[in-house]
């Protein structure tokens, strides 16, 4: 594949699209009047809708990718993995069939009730379980990590304690002073620190955007063969 097709063309497309989006943000007013403003607005809207379509496409792409990766594990019988992959593919196929309302050709007729049942009592329950297991890991990590070993660790411990107490309904009711202390920490220490981090991050993002538009950042083009 030629270098122009593989590298230069994507960079040119990125540059043109990026410049159009920047221009339409700064040039087009809320109520466009001039013909060029109306045109720019329409182009901006179209490009945004293209981005949404691409995002929707990635879901289907992700499904194909998962199917390929896990089919490979099953066909190669990867030790310690293939049975999980087989189960994943089986459940994915079942969910797709149920989701699209069954497959009459296979004699499978599914109602909304069955789909709702599977999402509520299988998918939602499992997802919730995975998420809530974090509480156990965090508790265990707090028990091990919160030690007053150094001055910095002691400061972290004290602030952690105050924050935890301020978020505990029982302390909020019987020791309301802790809320004021936590609010003060949030208002002055947390807010100012995070603003610094955010401004730094935003400057970095602007720089990354400029470098991408100039073709100096090419990570998004993928691996070079």
């Amino acid at each position: 594949m030629s270098l122009a097709y593989r590298r230069h063309l994507p960079i040119i497309i990125t540059f043109i699209m990026g410049i159009i989006m920047i221009l339409q943000y700064f040039i087009v007013p809320k109520q466009p009047v001039e013909p060029y403003q109306i045109t720019m607005q329409k182009v901006g809207e179209t490009l945004t809708n293209w981005a949404n379509l691409l995002a929707a496409f990635t879901i289907g792409f992700g499904m194909v990718n998962i199917a390929l990766i896990h089919s490979r594990h099953v066909s190669r019988k990867t030790p310690g993995q293939w049975y999980y992959s087989a189960w994943l593919l089986f459940v994915a196929v079942i969910m797709v069939i149920v989701g699209i309302g069954g497959e009459p050709a296979l004699g499978i007729n599914v109602s909304k009730y069955q789909y709702d049942w599977m999402t509520t009592y299988v998918f939602a329950a499992l997802s919730g379980t995975m998420y809530s297991s974090l509480a156990f890991y965090i508790t265990s990590a707090c028990y091990r990590a919160f030690r007053a070993r150094t001055i910095e660790a002691t400061a972290l411990l004290i602030v952690g304690f105050i924050t935890l107490m301020s978020r505990t309904p029982a302390f909020q009711a019987y020791l309301p002073q802790v809320i004021e202390v936590a609010d003060w920490i949030n208002k002055y220490i947390v807010k100012s620190s995070f603003r610094g981090i955010l401004i730094g991050g935003a400057l970095g993002a602007i720089l990354l955007g400029i470098r991408t538009l100039m073709g100096m950042e090419t990570g998004y083009l993928g691996r070079r063969d």
Binding site: T139, L164, M165
Partner: protein, 278 residues
């Protein structure tokens, strides 16, 4: 060599910690302790903004969570919709999560708009999942009808009475997002608050609060975490699952505080022992 009691306490096996935590969470859920429910200023402020909406105002409610975080975020979303449906406002609901429609179904079943005399298409509407994250927010803001031609059930938007005259962000009085994602919570600021100056209310996970604090109250007019759902339910007189969790929060947090204190005592006692031994 066997561990001394202090060493054992200092590095308590995780199985024991997990068991104690399960007991601390389960007991108050099964047998509520009836601890008082203090209402924080953040929840009062949230309610005041909803209360202050003018008649006929359009509110965009984005159910920006999936089923994984549903147990944590849904109680606050339910309380918010109860509060909104108490008023004469038009509610446009959407989601940026592919499994968001499942969350919507669960949400709307719990809220039951019929009980408030609200009619689908006239008082509230569900646009479904809009892919694209931040570009979806931008597309909806610029031209709602172009970005979402039909609602979740396939009805063209121009046939839905409440959406006939709505073109985009400038027609909305408020945007409410409940999400576990920092990108989503901050994306609304970039795509709706900065360009259109819409009143934005954000409910996030407690651990995300520090990352959102810099935007409060300038860009995010009301900011709270979903753990305060019980307070909101109590405030608006609609007790739900959030209020039942408050006692469990209290007991689990107190357990964690005590555990950390014990671990530190064991750590310093061990240190002193080692010094004495040397």
């Amino acid at each position: 060599m066997a561990k001394s009691p202090l060493e054992y306490i200092e590095s308590l096996p995780r199985e024991i910690i997990y068991t104690i935590l399960i007991i601390c969470l389960a007991v108050p859920l099964v047998k509520p302790l009836g601890l008082p429910v203090p209402i924080s200023s953040r929840v009062k402020e949230w309610h005041q903004y909803v209360e202050g909406l003018p008649d006929g105002a359009y509110v965009l409610v984005s159910v920006d969570y999936g089923v994984g975080s549903l147990p944590a975020l849904e109680p606050f979303m339910v309380a918010t919709l109860h509060d909104l449906f108490e008023r004469n406002v038009k509610v446009v609901i959407m989601t940026l999560y592919s499994d968001g429609p499942i969350c919507y179904e669960s949400l709307i079943t719990k809220v039951n708009p019929d009980a408030y005399g609200k009619q689908y298409g006239v008082d509230y509407v569900f646009l479904g999942y809009i892919p694209g994250g931040e570009t979806a927010m931008k597309a909806v803001a610029e031209n709602l009808h172009a970005a979402v031609p039909t609602d979740y059930y396939g009805t063209p938007l121009n046939q839905i009475p409440m959406l006939k005259d709505i073109s985009g962000a400038s027609d909305f009085a408020m945007i409410i997002s409940v999400t576990p994602s920092g990108d989503v919570a901050q994306g609304w600021i970039r795509q709706w608050v900065t360009p259109y100056g819409i009143t934005y209310m954000s409910c996030v996970l407690a651990m995300m609060m520090p990352t959102m604090e810099p935007y409060y109250p300038a860009q995010v007019k009301a900011l709270t975490d979903a753990g305060r759902a019980g307070e909101y339910e109590y405030l608006i007189g609609k007790p739900g699952s959030g209020i039942r969790k408050l006692d469990a929060f209290s007991v689990a947090h107190i357990m964690l505080i005590i555990a950390i204190i014990i671990a530190n005592i064991a750590y310093f006692a061990l240190k002193a022992q080692k010094k004495g031994g040397a």
